[in-house]
């Protein structure tokens, strides 16, 4: 069964069809790319998938379960986590706590046991510290665990956002322009990390990206959006050589 199945997804803001009749099927373990020119509706698709917007039409199912119309929190619990185009970290909290906050729904204890420091608090906090450090190590952030997230350099902030998303233990990870603002070296490193995350965490990943080197380098399949509509879909090499796609990107 497909990990993510989107059928005829549409949303209009007034008269504007931001996403129109978008369908996609992503299998478990796939690294899938969503590309398209600026304003094509890519981020809107992410916002629809994560419940920020409710679709006017269409159906979204995750691992066979219908999640259409659910809110952000329910969808995260169901197993979709995301990062943002403009980084959204908890800037005034240490790097470690950013990841620990990601575990909010996975490792729980009550407010009262937190205040009274009951045994349950110590036990869960110890597990949390260990698990958070494991994830930070994957992203080579473990040495910065005590630093405030806002004080990290840009590239590491992007990585921390992915780390925090992974802490919610999702089945599907959505990355919104993970390489934005990175230099070629950092992008190369990021590609390695994304591949590693897929293999190590057994993750299905859908990503939006403008950096064609990254897209061609790691995505197995692609969907191309243009003016909210699906322009092409399929194997990466095939899609990238499609004349329609080239026209959309480079003009006539």
């Amino acid at each position: 069964m497909a990990m993510l199945e989107v059928k005829n997804l549409s949303i209009s803001f007034g008269g504007l069809h931001a996403v129109d009749d978008f369908s996609v099927t992503i299998e478990k373990g796939e690294l899938y790319g969503l590309i398209g020119p600026n304003g094509a509706g890519k981020t809107t698709v992410f916002n629809l998938l994560t419940g920020v917007y409710k679709p006017t039409e269409g159906k979204i199912s995750l691992d066979g379960k219908d999640i259409t119309g659910k809110n952000t929190i329910e969808i995260n619990r169901a197993g979709i986590a995301r990062t943002f185009q403009n980084i959204r970290l908890f800037k005034n909290m240490p790097v470690l706590d950013n990841v620990k906050t990601g575990f909010h729904n996975r490792y729980r204890y009550s407010t009262v046991s937190g205040i009274l420091r009951l045994p349950r608090y110590r036990q869960v906090e110890n597990t949390l510290n260990e698990r958070a450090m494991e994830i930070l190590k994957v992203f080579d952030l473990d040495k910065e665990a005590a630093i405030l997230a806002g004080n990290l350099p840009y590239g590491k902030q992007r990585k921390l956002e992915i780390a925090r998303a992974l802490a919610t233990e999702p089945r599907l990870l959505l990355l919104d322009e993970p390489a934005a603002g990175m230099n070629p070296n950092e992008t190369g490193e990021l590609m390695e990390t994304i591949r590693f995350v897929r293999d190590h965490f057994d993750m299905t990943i859908l990503l939006i990206e403008h950096d064609m080197r990254l897209v061609a380098g790691i995505c197995e399949k692609l969907s191309v959006l243009n003016f909210g509509r699906l322009l092409a879909q399929g194997e990466t090499a095939e899609v990238l050589s499609n004349p329609d796609v080239i026209t959309a990107y480079l003009g006539e």
């Binding site: 986590a81 240490p94 205040i115 450090m133 665990a145 802490a167």
Partner: protein
């Protein structure tokens, strides 16, 4: 693996040290004041200020939970103090000598905290849908509404139970033997004066315990996550409204405790003290002491409560000096130059040197 454990251990120790220093400051303050009292070196004026200082310290800690930790500007905390003060004073008067002093006072504190906390939930549910300036204005209004409502309430107790009226004392229809406790604008008189400096310090320590432990727990992290980035908090599955409400209610309950301490320190209690001036005053403590800085807001509360009284000998220049102190404190806390200077000073301290040396070794 060892290295990451080391980092976690160091982070834990830093938090623990921070907590302990805060408790220690309170205890040292208590001991110093006790010594001053016993050696007769504290003027009666300042002795009379000790309980109000505790009241304001608790109020400042509680407001800092909402403003600093939860990141919402609330201007209605005097309202919650009012609820705590009135409900607890009513209880103490109604019970009278039916209970020994100490258990009665403890129960009064609990009742004040629970009632104020309940009002915190009731008001929080509609109010926390708003953000920023709008939230501030609405909490300001709710604070005033509480004060004005309490101002017209008449309440008494007799063998038939509770009597409540909002018109006149006559409408209570009390039996001759009944006790009329809340007398509208006249407030409550004859509340047993159970509040003491010691009780105040114990309550400050309990409040600190709750707030500091809350901040460094799962719920505290969720509250701060909602403050730092609401959208990101939702994206990782944190129910934002619920945690904002939790912070607001806990804070309201603690403001209620401040109110209990206040009401059990006075022979007569009325609503005059619970207007927006008090809310603003507490906010001043929080802002000057540092938003989100619990220790700073405590120190600001002590200094700014004691200062006007200590400057009495300057008569007309008193408020001038007060204003200058406010400005200096603000600059000291927030001006970039002052901050870098403080950081330099901190590096010069011996124990920091050791930590830095340890870092180099590692």
């Amino acid at each position: 693996m060892d290295k990451s454990l080391e980092i976690i251990r160091r982070m834990k120790n830093r938090t623990l040290k921070n907590h302990l220093i805060t408790y220690l400051i309170v205890i040292v303050f208590y001991v110093v004041i006790q010594v001053l009292i016993n050696t007769g070196n504290l003027s009666s004026l300042l002795t009379g200020l000790l309980v109000p200082i505790c009241v304001y310290v608790i109020a400042a800690i509680s407001l800092n939970l909402v403003v600093g930790i939860s990141g919402e500007l609330s201007l209605g905390h005097a309202g919650f103090m009012c609820i705590g003060a009135y409900t607890s004073a009513f209880f103490s008067n109604a019970v009278g000598d039916g209970l020994p002093e100490i258990p009665r006072f403890i129960l009064a504190i609990l009742i004040g905290a629970v009632c104020a906390g309940l009002f915190g939930v009731l008001i929080g549910i509609p109010v926390l849908r708003l953000k920023g300036d709008y939230l501030a204005i609405v909490t300001l209004a709710f604070g005033e509404i509480i004060k004005n409502l309490v101002n017209v309430v008449y309440m008494g107790i007799d063998s038939n139970g509770l009597h409540i009226s909002t018109t006149t004392a006559m409408d209570l229809h009390m039996e001759p033997g009944g006790k009329q406790i809340i007398k509208g604008a006249l407030g409550i008189s004859g509340t047993p004066r159970n509040s003491s400096f010691t009780a105040g310090i114990i309550l400050i320590l309990i409040t600190l315990f709750i707030v500091q432990n809350l901040i460094s727990s799962r719920s505290g992290r969720a509250i701060m996550a909602c403050r730092d980035n609401r959208i990101a908090a939702e994206s990782i599955g944190i129910p934002v409204t619920r945690f904002k409400l939790l912070a607001f209610a806990v804070s309201a309950a603690m403001a209620g405790v401040a109110g209990v301490l206040y009401s059990h320190n006075l022979a007569t209690l009325n609503t005059k003290k619970f207007d927006y001036n008090t809310s603003i005053l507490v906010l001043v403590f929080v802002v000057l002491g540092g938003i989100g800085n619990i220790r700073g807001s405590m120190i600001a509360a002590v200094i700014l409560t004691a200062l006007p009284e200590m400057l009495r000998f300057l008569s007309n220049y008193r408020m001038l000096i007060y204003a200058i102190v406010l400005i200096v404190m603000m600059l000291f806390n927030w001006a970039p130059a002052a901050r870098t200077w403080r950081e330099r000073m901190r590096e010069k301290l011996p124990f920091k040197k050791k930590a830095a040396a340890g870092k180099e070794e590692a």
